[in-house]
Symmetry: C2
Subunit: 198 residues, 2 copies
């Protein structure tokens, strides 16, 4: 299945072919690939180079972390995400290590790192499906997350399953066309809401 | 100047060579390049496909938006960012368009879109320097940002200035080696703070 974005302007192919599947293959992710995924996250930009991102990673077949990450997801997400061979939780540090003050960029910068990870995954034919549907308190309990950190996201990482049926509702959901607002609805010039003349 | 990341595992070259300069060239950014930058942002992932990101973009020489964006930055950022031919503000929508409830992923997803933009810029030999040092209230006033949206970041976009001196303090800041925490300090397994066995 290809879901290349129908772009209005040319962009890096890896960005255009990235999408978030619901049906994952049991095929394991190679260790070297996983290392490069997190290495890509590592080199993201961050405010004051604080690198406020943390990840908790569970690999199926290695201890019980995969099962414990799964248990932190909403039931709807658990239903499809359990098939992914790698599950991760995205955590941000609330405060600046430098001053102890709140880091207003923390959630944003976790996003920067996660985007890098997803792009590195895409070029390795892997897929990442990010989720906001998690229980942060359950994650705090399950993984002893301290007060100055907070779980925000989860990620299912693996190969797209193209062979098996995988549940018709999920397949249908996957097959829907990709859509986005046009540029003139989110890139503004003179004022918020007024399209920029790019 | 090359500041390729000294990676411990191989990653996409575009991710490795991205960095945030302080000294921008006055060379303008082509319209087609700008369009592709925001097109790359457009195709980022987002929770419930809400696409909560908005951008206000000022191009030097086109009206006063560039000057007005500049006025929303902290003084320290204004000092170097004024040289960039394109300045943008990153805004997130607080609430889900679907339900009106708060969107917990909004800031994170603005980060996903901004990372895409930075990667597209990098492959076009452009640079993006993101900033958290802005005055959100000044931005609200200057650009009529409504209550259900909030300015979070700014971005200086342009070419790195390699010829002119550009201020020795900024040059020195640019020349510092790139550094990041090693993987075992932010990728955890059994518990938060315990390195994953990747």
């Amino acid at each position: 299945m290809h879901k290349t974005a129908p772009t209005d302007a040319p962009i890096l192919n890896t960005l255009a072919v990235r999408w978030s599947p619901y049906v994952f293959s049991p095929r394991p992710v190679r260790r070297v690939d996983l290392q490069s995924l997190f290495e890509a996250a590592r080199w993201a930009a961050s405010s004051y180079n604080e690198q406020p991102w943390r990840f908790i990673v569970g690999v199926r077949g290695q201890g019980d972390t995969h099962a414990r990450v799964l248990s932190c997801l909403t039931e709807k997400n658990q239903a499809w995400a359990r098939a992914a061979p790698v599950l991760a939780i995205g955590v941000f540090m609330r405060n600046l290590a430098s001053s102890g003050e709140g880091n207003r960029a923390a959630q944003h910068d976790l996003g920067l790192a996660s985007a890098n990870l997803a792009i590195e995954a895409t070029r390795r034919k892997l897929h990442v499906h990010m989720m906001i549907g998690i229980d942060p308190d359950a994650a705090r309990e399950a993984f002893s997350i301290p007060e100055d950190a907070e779980a925000l996201t989860a990620m299912a990482i693996g190969y797209h399953e193209t062979e098996l049926a995988g549940g018709s509702a999920l397949r249908k959901r996957e097959a829907s066309p990709r859509s986005r607002h046009p540029l003139d609805e989110f890139v503004f010039g003179d004022h918020f809401g007024q399209s920029a003349d790019l």
